[in-house]
C-alpha cells in the first residue's frame, strides 16, 4: 500500500527571493509543499463574513490569496516564518492569517473551557512558527501567547516556536519550544 503524500504549507514574509532557501531547508522528499509568499497585491480581510455565508469555505475577495481556507484544510503541517513585530507576526503574515477565516466554521465549540469556532475540516495541523528579528522578552512572551491562541482556534497541534535575531539564523535558533 502506498502512503499518502504529506502536504505542507509554508507562509513566509521574505518575498520570492527567499523561496530557494526555504525549499532547501524546509522541504523534504516525499512531501508536497506549497509556499505562500507576497507576490503582488494582497487585500486585507474586510470582515464581511462572505467566506462563511456567501461562498462557505472560500474568501470572496478577488486576489491570489482567496483560497487559504482550503489550502489549510488539505494540509498536514503549517510552517510560519515571520518577523516578530510588537509580539505578533509581520503585516503580510497577519494578512494571510486574517484571510484564513474560511478555514474555520462560524459555529461555536468549547476548547480548553473557552468558546472557539468549530473546525470546518477534520485535519489537525501540526504548527511550527519561526520568528525572527529584534524583539524584547515581553514581545516574545506575547508572540508565544498569540501562537498558542491561533493553534487553539485552528484546532491544530503546536509543534515548534522559536525566535532568532535574523532570517539567516533561523535554523541556528535551536529547537525552540517543542
Amino acid at each position: 500500500m502506498r502512503m499518502e503524500e504529506k502536504k505542507k504549507l509554508i507562509i513566509q514574509d521574505g518575498g520570492q527571493e527567499s523561496e530557494e532557501w526555504i525549499q532547501k531547508h524546509f522541504m523534504k522528499q516525499g512531501e508536497q509543499t506549497e509556499i505562500i509568499t507576497e507576490t503582488g497585491k494582497i487585500q486585507n480581510c474586510i470582515g464581511c463574513f462572505g467566506c462563511w455565508v456567501m461562498t462557505p469555505g472560500r474568501c470572496v475577495l478577488r486576489d491570489d490569496y482567496n483560497r487559504m481556507g482550503e489550502k489549510l484544510g488539505h494540509a498536514d503541517e503549517l510552517i510560519i516564518i515571520s518577523e516578530c513585530i510588537y509580539g505578533t507576526y509581520s503585516p503580510f503574515v497577519r494578512n494571510i492569517l486574517d484571510r484564513c477565516l474560511p478555514y474555520i466554521h462560524p459555529y461555536f465549540t468549547k476548547r480548553e473551557k473557552e468558546i472557539h469556532h468549530k473546525a470546518r475540516y477534520q485535519n489537525r495541523l501540526k504548527v511550527s512558527v519561526y520568528f525572527y528579528g529584534e524583539c524584547t522578552p515581553e514581545e516574545k512572551e506575547t508572540a508565544v501567547k498569540t501562537v498558542r491562541a491561533n493553534v487553539l482556534n485552528f484546532n491544530g497541534i503546536l509543534y515548534h516556536i522559536s525566535f532568532s535575531e535574523s532570517r539567516d539564523t533561523i535554523l541556528c535558533a535551536g529547537e525552540g519550544m517543542q
Binding site: N44, C45, I46, G47, C48, F49, W52, V53, M54, T55, P56, G57, R58, R67, G69, E70, G73, I85, Y86, G87, T88, Y89, P91, F92, R94, N95, L97, D98, C100, L101, P102, H105, P106, Y107, F108, E114, I115, H116, H117, R120, Y121, T136, E138, E139, E141, T142, K145, T146, A149, N150, N153
Partner: protein, 214 residues
C-alpha cells in the same frame, strides 16, 4: 486637550468598534467624528491629526487573535513617524494610548494577546499606555445599542467604558479590563448560530451549506 478616537475596524460602517467609540464619546462629551483607519496606509492629513493628539483611543475587532493586518501596517507607519518626529514633543506631552478591543467569541480574556501587542507598540512609539478594555460578544454590541446604560447585557460594558472615559479626560492610566457582556453564553451561541443560518438563507444557501468545504 485633543482626544482622537480611531476606528480601526476594516468595516466601512456599522462596526462594533464604531458603536463602542460612540458610547465612549458620549461619556467624554465629544462630538468630533472618528478617524477611520480602514485602509493599509494612513494619509498625511490623518497622520498630522494623530501627531497633534494628547490622547489616542483606538478601537478595533480581534482578528485571528490579534490586531487586523491593515491596522498593524498603520501602527508601523505611526511608529516610523514617531521616530522621525519624536524630538518635537517633550516627555510631558507624550501621547497617551487607550485601547478598546472586541472579539466575536464570548470571553473578553481572549483579547489579551492583542492588548499586549498594543502595549508593546505604545512603548516602541515612545507613547504612554493609558488603559485597555477588552470585551467579548462583539457580535451582539450593535444589537444592544438602545439598552439603557448600566442595565442588562450592558452592565459590565458601561462600568468599564465610564471608567475609561474618566481616565481619558484626566489623561490618567487605569487597569486593563477584560470581561463578558452580561448575557448567558448559551444564548449568545444560539443567537449567533441562528444569525449565520439566516444570513446564509438570505444569500440563497441552505443551512447545511455553512459546512461546505472548498
Amino acid at each position: 486637550m485633543k482626544i482622537t478616537m480611531i476606528n480601526g475596524s476594516p468595516k466601512a460602517k456599522n462596526s462594533a468598534s464604531e458603536s463602542l467609540l460612540s458610547i465612549l464619546k458620549g461619556y467624554c462629551n465629544l462630538a468630533a467624528p472618528d478617524l477611520v483607519l480602514n485602509k493599509m496606509v494612513i494619509e498625511e492629513e490623518n497622520m498630522a491629526e494623530i501627531w497633534k493628539s494628547d490622547a489616542l483611543v483606538i478601537a478595533f475587532p480581534l482578528y485571528i487573535d490579534s490586531v487586523p493586518s491593515h491596522l498593524l501596517r498603520c501602527l508601523i507607519q505611526i511608529e516610523e513617524y514617531a521616530r522621525l518626529h519624536g524630538q518635537e514633543r517633550t516627555s510631558e506631552e507624550t501621547i497617551k494610548v487607550y485601547v478598546v478591543i472586541n472579539n466575536g467569541f464570548f470571553q473578553g480574556k481572549q483579547n489579551m494577546p492583542a492588548i499586549e501587542v498594543m502595549q508593546h507598540w505604545t512603548k516602541r512609539c515612545g507613547f504612554e499606555f493609558g488603559q485597555a478594555v477588552g470585551v467579548g460578544g462583539g457580535g451582539m454590541i450593535n444589537f444592544i445599542k438602545n439598552v439603557p446604560d448600566g442595565h442588562g447585557p450592558k452592565k459590565n460594558l458601561t462600568l468599564a467604558l465610564r471608567e475609561m472615559a474618566g481616565n481619558i479626560l484626566q489623561k490618567k492610566s487605569g487597569e486593563t479590563k477584560v470581561f463578558e457582556l452580561n448575557y448567558p453564553a448559551w444564548a449568545y451561541k444560539w443567537q449567533a448560530e441562528y444569525g449565520w443560518r439566516m444570513a446564509a438563507r438570505k444569500n440563497g444557501l441552505k443551512s447545511k451549506d455553512l459546512n461546505k468545504r472548498a
